[in-house]
Symmetry: C2
């Protein structure tokens, strides 16, 4: 295979990853056409990570929160998209190794984000369910629904309790939102679907290593979210770190032992860094140290943005929070600096504009920290919905998501409870078989 | 594992398969509660087969045309649903072997439908793409999109043409609708997504063994559909039977040879019959011979309905057409006969009420045969949409499908072009591993 990207008179900028940072950068850059833009991503779509938990809990379809990359750049002749995996960087000859062959660059932007961090615990990695992609969220949905089917058919209550119960590890927004939604499903939906099961056997645990939930948010939000979840019947265990999981029991370093077949791991992330980057520039969490212009230390033509990058700026001396906002803001700022470079103007340093953070816990329940005000409850919940709705890429996706939310709110139901996987297709004739091809066919 | 279905004072009726026939039967039966109803299906959802082709061509999400079975029967305490596969019937002791263990019945209804018939051609079975489930439709979508990605990266035009071209075998509604939609995607959507590809290389062939398309419909509809498709650039090859496919070339018995990596097989079906049924009652297409009360020959307590059943009635001496309508009507009629049996009344013979048939070819183009009138074009297309919309199970599904259709119509676009498969999850701890469990986890 060949990348088949033509050489033009213009500089080529290669962007690895089309998450919040990479997509914001590419959209901004594509407003000028005196630059060739190459976007490399493992998937042919952008995914809206803040709503993965709703995919996992049958509230939204993956397609409502994903957007085809080619559609974003349909009218742009200078944008080339390749669905491929980057395995290494050769900074000496300014090129990348990919599953489609070698691709050269004039400028390179690493926007590869972060992946689940199991902190070296192989046992957890093999058995826990991660939540860092829409595919993983869909797999979690399929697994939980299949477990309920299995719970109907097992012989003992111990097995039944194991299949029905869920342990969510990580008290950040994903963990809090997932635990909250699961508890609402347990209350409103599942007993109707499975009148033969006793849902008092379905335990929901939320484990967090620190002494509070939502540690990056305000004290007020942290306390309120705990109060909400406890009222909803979620068992919250703070200051508990998972030490092991044999597929039946989660054990913590503090000596607890909890029975579950479903361990969801939302406890930490590590940066996605490929081979060829000087290991000296990696800092805490595997992130790449960048300067205030998002330049990777020691290179003038390589940049990093978003979760994978760590910039010391203002009060963020150990890097910005690994969220959508810093990534998008860095993407936009870097686009402008690249334009400045093309126009032979000096770059401007990045300054993060903290717009606040929020998490939803359930019906009419959310917590919101804005720079000048913090609030919780129904109005916070409306704010959360509004902000997320306008942030989803695509008008139709916004409409479909709104209808799904409205419907679920009115009917107390989510009707996407299908255990559905694409059939494994025969691969057909492939001249030069690629792992991507097999993966796409559902193998 | 155990089926765990309680014995009650009431008769137990076991329905295998929740397609159009099985679902219609179960819904009707569930109106009385002096009967225990057990529904067995491989999936936890009912699927709306007439729109599979729209899932395959990225026009609809699987969830818009699938409906969770448990939701249909939420308030019915006497309905027991089990997601399982039936492997054999023991008519002597009135029981079934399933992947959950043995299940006994008082009455048994076989509503297992039909599956793809490759007419014994192993080579085709291994390499062609079937269209008989929503999973297969989704797999076809993933495959075609991935092939276009691969087409960007191959070295030769021969490989590119093979990856881009599609051969659809079977000139029934599925084949006609699929070929029509593909040709509209080729015209309106794909060139915008892939400006780097030359779509004159994407050939679309529709092969049919008989001398006309839509052989079960009127001469008028058959001719008009050919005219429409030819205008849309589909190469129609009638009186051509596929003899082989090596993954690169489709060859026909009549001596044609066509280059494609994508062979879609919608050429025929055979009934799904499990072990234990007396082979003497099987007739053409592997269907089970039933009397006018849908009773399987030689049994008073076993019935068959829909595609799997063959009843000689009126002008349908070799069984009714294998479509939704006969299945649904037989399901309803059988429910009433079972009530009559419970009330010790004699059964009534089934009479098929032919409501007509229809197929859509593209924007503003469809063919409709009603009992007293046949028409084609824009009004037929509106009729087709209306009938299909009201037939989809679930109000929200109707709304979402309508929005998707409206959106596609106005924007000339389908935005579901995601190559998305659930991640393979670790199976976790399973006391008694079942193939279903592994399948559900995406293995």
């Amino acid at each position: 295979m060949l990348p088949n990207i033509p050489y033009t008179q213009y500089k080529r900028i290669v962007i690895i990853g089309a998450g919040f940072g990479g997509l914001a950068l590419a959209r901004e850059l594509a407003r000028r056409d005196d630059l060739q833009i190459v976007i490399l991503d493992k998937n042919n779509y952008h995914q809206f990570q803040p709503l993965f938990y709703q995919v996992a809990t049958a509230g939204l379809e993956p397609s409502s929160i994903s957007f085809p990359l080619r559609k974003v750049f349909q009218s742009k002749k200078n944008v080339h998209i390749r669905v491929t995996e980057v395995t290494a960087i050769h900074t000496d000859r300014k090129s990348l190794d990919t599953s489609l062959g070698e691709i050269t660059y004039d400028f390179l932007v690493i926007a590869t984000g972060a992946t689940t961090n199991y902190f070296g615990m192989k046992e957890i990695e093999e058995r826990a369910i991660p939540m860092k992609s829409v595919s993983e969220a869909l797999a979690l949905r399929n697994r939980m629904l299949q477990n309920l089917e299995d719970a109907l058919a097992v012989d003992t209550d111990d097995e039944r309790e194991g299949l029905m119960s869920v342990v969510v590890v990580g008290g950040g927004p994903t963990g809090v939102e997932l635990a909250g939604t699961l508890s609402e499903m347990r209350k409103y939906i599942l007993p109707k679907d499975y009148p033969e099961l006793d849902f008092s056997m379905m335990k929901i645990y939320l484990l967090e290593g620190l002494d509070k939930l939502l540690p990056v948010m305000s004290e007020q939000s942290s306390e309120k979210s705990r109060e909400y979840l406890e009222k909803m019947g979620v068992t919250i265990l703070t200051s508990q770190s998972v030490a092991g999981y044999d597929g039946r029991y989660v054990v913590t370093k503090q000596g607890m032992k909890i029975r579950t077949d479903n361990l969801v791991w939302a406890a930490g992330v590590k940066a996605n860094v490929m081979n060829g980057i000087n290991p000296d520039v990696l800092v805490k969490g595997g992130r790449i140290k960048v300067d205030e212009f998002n330049r990777v230390q020691g290179y003038s033509d390589i940049f990093a943005i978003g979760d994978v990058a760590s910039m010391s700026e203002g009060k963020f001396q150990n890097g910005h929070p690994q969220l959508a906002q810093p990534a998008m803001q860095q993407g936009k700022a870097l686009a402008k600096n690249i334009w400045r470079a093309l126009d032979e103007k000096p770059p401007k340093p990045f300054v993060y504009n903290d717009l606040g953070s929020m998490a939803t816990i359930g019906r009419n329940k959310a917590v919101v920290d804005l720079p000048f005000i913090k609030f919780q409850g129904f109005f916070a919940w409306l704010t959360w919905m509004f902000i997320h709705l306008i942030s989803i890429v695509g008008v139709k996706n916004k409409i479909l998501t709104f209808i799904n939310w409205f419907w679920s709110y009115v009917t107390f139901d989510q009707s996407l409870r299908l255990i559905l996987t694409p059939k494994v297709l025969p691969p057909g004739y492939v001249e030069d078989p690629e792992p991507e091809h097999a993966k796409a066919a559902g193998v």
